[in-house]
Amino acid sequence: MSSSFTDRLLGRVRLSGLLALAAPILAIVFAGVVTSIILLLNGNDPLATFGLLLDFSTKPRVQVIILNSATTYYISALAVAIGFRMNLFNIGVDGQYRLAALIAAAVGGAITLPGPLHVGVTMLVAVLIGGLWASIAAVLKTARGVSEVISTIMLNAIATGLGAWLLTPGRLAILNGNNVGTKPIGPSGQFPGIALIPGTPVKVFGMIIVAALLGVAYSVVLNRTRFGFDLRATGRSESAAVASGVNVKKMVLYTMILSGAVAGLVGMPQLLGASYSYSLDFPAGLGFTGIAIALMGRNNPIGIALGALLWSFLDNSNDILDFNGIPKEIVVIMQGTIVLSVIVAYELVHRYRAVAEQRRVSRQLSAGAGTPAQEVAA
């Protein structure tokens, strides 16, 4: 077959109908089985454990937390997926969002503007910084051919160092008890939450709406615009894109910067909806979660949303396990197994389809050699 494993891994090969559903279900069942085996080896009852998780997640407060983390994960996975659609591996979402959040927090804390404008300026700064940081990797790739995998990983480390340097009192940070953080953003710069789920005073991040809009924009830009067409064409076949006049270097530059710009927003739900300040305990590592979720969701905006919710559910309902004497790290095992099995399951389903189709074509060609109507394979 003419699709590579990478194409299938990154979801550039479409599966149709029931098969598209079969793969993720297969994967989750398989991950459940593996986790059950590990639970049994530990002397825990798998069914009871899963029951605990599900039960805990029905509590309104937990549901809000699940939605809130999922919002962050979703934006992160979208940023990664933009690159994936073009064969660009932006491993640097992590550094991009941390640096963007830090500087946006400093700017947002330093200014006072009317409500929406204040929020808008803060988010704009984050987008610019994220895009700027990603553009370093993009320029290195287009001008010097440096693999973006290597450069973004290294830029993550540099972002950590740069962030630590900036986040010291006298530069962008102030001392707040024994925590060091940026000056808190005033009420005008805070993104109001939504009381979406009854039964709890905790509110859902308002950024969930921005995340949803981003998902729509992702879909529209990729599927409905010339830019998106060029991007997808380059991802599917760089050689065909070149032959049809796509400037691949320019596409690399734009796509990487776009991915970084979206990455810049990853820290915003937390910053504008909860902490209002970038401090030492600002969540890290969300960029890598994004990679896993983009793979799970196969770069499809709906798939990514489901993946983000599942991941967030596992992340946030595991606290209950400790109360019941079950190690909560079991959830990490489950997350890892799900990602691996999704990849394996899609590969298996794809091979099954390829073989089945090849057989059918063979049969049709040999049965109706010369009959024009049967020259078509699908």
Binding site: S2, S3, D7, R12, V13, R14, N223, R224, T225, R226, F227, G228, F229, D230, R232, A233, R236, S237, S239, A240, V242, A243, S244, G245, V246, N247, E357, Q358, V361, S362, L365, S366, P372, A373, E375, V376, A377, A378
Partner: protein
């Protein structure tokens, strides 16, 4: 696994018994038949050459014989017994070894380590028995006169020596039948001589060699028997003693197809595309296209004849702006030398690429998206920055209808269509938007006869309406039949102008391969090739 039997006892007695027999081998891929009813008998102790143009199906056949692909139909017999290979491991176990065109050696390991990699002799179950391996390698190397030093590092070896290591690697695994895929492609002439000496040594010891090539002079020098493959099937089995290079070339390109008879000239005096002093250099600074100049007038088909790999692909890519080149290109009066590929396309160059899967289509995208490819800035596909789905879809329907693309619908992935229908879609796409010049690179390669005739018709109709066509093809009948003028390209240079009205495929074939002298101006091509050989 069977170990290499290093004996000479089998050599003379059994030279006439077939080592490999293929009967009715057919292999289909979705949308294309790669091999059809292949029949092949290789006698033991022979160097059996398989010749054919690129894309004729040689490599698929060899992959089948080496267990990398399974045939849909047909029987393979090795030493008289039917076999069914699932993996190359099965083929190796049956004594078949493959020397790939691109060497598969680890540079930073020694010759010995490379050879035993994957089939290490064990000592006491765990350790590797290097002494035994070294002994055996020495033994094989001496028996066949390969002169391989087991302890040299592979990175220190030249290309010829690496190839001998590859040969030894398969012999070490017990192969008695060796498949050599284009072994001379990477060698300089002296190394070719050495290789042929080695091959003669191997067959003298009773081994069988299947030699794949499209270099006719080499094939005639070394082979004991020759099978010609064309369009996926075996068309002739010839004895090198009774055949000339000219006759072989003719068999390879075929001359039985209905020749398109467009003698009524539509050539005008308006130049559509003028190329002057076009030179393309490869990574090493070697000129792969050297100082090529020509004019194509409106209503003219200019054919470029040449054996593949003589600069045609580079010439096309330079005109399309996909490859940097020196020289000037003038399209309809405008100097486009500095234009991007997109601008050239917008300026009116249509492009039917040589490799439709790599350059012409997005295989995993539906037909209507493929309609947009290469035309993503033009109506009816876009409106400003937006893709005009309705427009693109409607126009795809038009192409499907007018160009007789057989498909259940325009939402089918391009992959699902047969080669001929994929090509018709590309032709239809490239003809839309009123092109001034069409670059048609092997426009009917790998398509069935029906689609071929249809594509010829479309090209002729467009030519009558004033389209200028640059036609590159390996099919001599197509070149002679469609072209208003012909140029022969050899080693990146235009070496002859030929009048398609008076030249025969035989004469043209000779000029291209430099295999023999031919009348008229084409003679200069052969002469040059002769000097360099």
């Amino acid at each position: 696994m069977e170990e290499a039997a290093i004996s000479t006892s089998t050599s003379s007695a059994t030279t006439t018994e077939p080592a490999v027999e293929l009967e009715g081998i057919t292999k289909r891929f979705p949308g294309v038949v790669a091999n059809r009813d292949i029949r092949l008998t290789v006698r033991r102790g022979h160097v059996h050459a398989i010749v054919g143009e690129n894309g004729a199906g040689k490599s698929t056949l060899m992959k089948i014989l080496y267990g990398m692909q399974r045939p849909d139909e047909g029987v393979i017999r090795v030493n008289g017994a039917p076999v069914s290979f699932r993996t190359p491991g099965d083929a190796i176990a049956a004594g078949i070894g493959m020397v790939h065109q691109h060497f598969m050696l680890a540079d930073n390991l020694t010759v010995l380590e490379n050879i035993i990699l994957g089939s290490e002799p064990r000592k006491g179950g765990v350790g590797i028995d290097f002494a035994a391996a070294r002994r055996k390698i020495k033994e094989i190397s001496d028996a066949y006169g390969l002169g391989v030093q087991p302890d040299s590092l592979v990175e220190d070896l030249g290309v010829g020596a690496r190839q001998r290591v590859e040969i030894l690697k398969v012999l070490y695994r017990g192969a008695r039948i060796l498949i050599l895929d284009e072994p001379t492609a990477v060698l300089v002439p002296q190394e070719v001589d050495e290789l042929f000496d080695n091959l003669r040594g191997l067959v003298r010891e009773g081994l069988t060699i299947i030699f794949i090539s499209h270099k006719l002079d080499e094939v005639l020098r070394v082979a004991d028997a020759i099978t010609v493959i064309r369009r996926g099937t075996t068309v002739a089995e010839v004895d090198p003693k009774d055949v000339t290079a000219r006759r072989l070339a003719e068999l390879m390109v075929g001359s039985e197809l209905p020749s398109p008879e467009t003698r009524e000239s539509t050539v005008t005096d308006q130049v559509a595309l003028a190329v002057r002093g076009l030179t393309v250099r490869d990574g090493d600074g070697r000129a792969v296209v050297a100082d090529v100049s020509f004019d194509i007038h409106k209503g003219e088909v200019l054919g470029i004849a040449g054996v593949e790999g003589n600069g045609q692909a580079e010439l096309v890519e330079a005109i399309m702006g996909m490859r940097s080149a020196a020289g000037t290109i003038v399209l309809d009066g405008a100097d486009i030398s500095a234009w991007s590929t997109l601008r050239r396309r917008e300026g009116g160059i249509g492009y039917i690429p040589e490799d439709r899967h790599r350059h012409g289509l997005l295989l995993q995208a539906p037909l209507w998206e493929n309609r947009i490819l290469g035309h993503q800035t033009r109506k009816p596909n876009v409106r400003g920055p937006w893709i005009d789905r309705a427009g693109a879809r409607a126009d795809t329907e038009r192409i499907v209808r007018d160009y007789d693309v057989r498909t259940p619908g325009i939402d089918v992935d391009a992959l699902a269509l047969s080669g001929g229908n994929q090509q018709k879609l590309i032709v239809g796409r490239e003809m839309s938007g009123a092109p001034v010049v069409l670059i048609a690179s092997h426009p009917t390669r790998g398509v069935d006869v029906g689609a071929q005739a249809a594509i010829w018709d479309h090209l002729r109709a467009a030519r009558a309406q004033g389209l200028a066509v640059l036609l590159i093809s390996a099919d001599l009948d197509e070149l002679i039949g469609l072209s208003d003028s012909l140029k022969v390209i050899l080693r990146g240079r235009v070496v002859a102008d030929v009048d398609p009205a008076s030249v025969t495929p035989e004469q043209l074939g000779s000029a291209m391969t430099g295999a023999a002298t031919s009348p008229e101006r084409a003679g200069s091509a052969a002469a040059e090739a002769g000097e360099e050989a």
